[in-house]
Symmetry: C2
Subunit: 208 residues, 2 copies
Amino acid sequence: MSAAEETPGGEDMPWGEVTPEAARRLLVAAVEAFAERGYHATTTRDIAGRAGMSPAALYIHYKTKEELLHRISRIGHDKALEILRAAADRDGTAAERLADAVHSFVRWHAERHTTARVVQYELDALGPEHRAEIVELRKQSDGAVRRIIDEGVAAGEFVVPDVPGTTVAVLSLCIDVSRWFNTQGRRSPDEVGALYADLVLRMVGVQK
Amino acid sequence: MSAAEETPGGEDMPWGEVTPEAARRLLVAAVEAFAERGYHATTTRDIAGRAGMSPAALYIHYKTKEELLHRISRIGHDKALEILRAAADRDGTAAERLADAVHSFVRWHAERHTTARVVQYELDALGPEHRAEIVELRKQSDGAVRRIIDEGVAAGEFVVPDVPGTTVAVLSLCIDVSRWFNTQGRRSPDEVGALYADLVLRMVGVQK
């Protein structure tokens, strides 16, 4: 399941930007190992072994285990921000843009649930500088969603008494899909995305 | 922060049902260790050490690390079910009962966020029998919320096109509070509970 999800060369090449291929294989192995056993229970030896490489070969690409986690977290957070900014910046009403943001963000968390769990649950394992960098990206993601909601309120489309709190709740609802989503379940990532877009429009007071 | 949260003898004695006191101390130590380093990176020696006890003293109370995780998970899930059933069974309209369920459930996840994270994120580490037992409790929690929503729809209070999907989303929204809640943050557990009760009523189509 997670192997199928994360294998490079899959439908949309999730780690396509990571080169050379050995560095990408190690990243995929690290995601699987962190997801199964947790960051602290995983050694660089485990990761190298999963990737069919020697520990020495791993050190050519990543100096520390934390560097691997940071690379995974950075790519995941860049992708999240890209999805949310694209929805915030596109043409359309605030309701259309919020529905788009939620639909795409949920679909990503469902399709890439193994990666998303590592990205979300191992934040505390990052070193202080890397953590600060990721926290900044998270603020920007929050800002993109908050902007759509603010614009919807200003345009009279939304009725939201607490914009910051509602923004946190919307992002949280989407992110938690990575915890419960099951590829063997009844709903596809796209179906969950559509359901959640509808629920979030209700949260901001859009009557349909 | 987590130490303050979990210390027995705190405001509401979260582990009050665990006796004798040595068994309770070990449970509190296990929650902290699992939350900090993950289940797989924690040894029974670590847990005994945190509790100021010897590994031999630990084995008097818990035969395995998994038994500790099961005990934590069982108590957490029993509490969750108790909160949701109490709200489902009380007098009042469906809207009042759903607001009560969400408010109480969110408050618990905020106040006991360290315990809740362990309970939610380490399910896969349980042995097959214990896992089946916990999955059954989770189905009952889901059932309590679904019952309120079904009754609200039947009474004409709620408009919900997809009751099972909405039930999953409501529980997920509440559970994820344990991931992001920060005791140093701007909102108290009670304030987050009130905000979320309002957002969930919107999700089920209650106009206020």
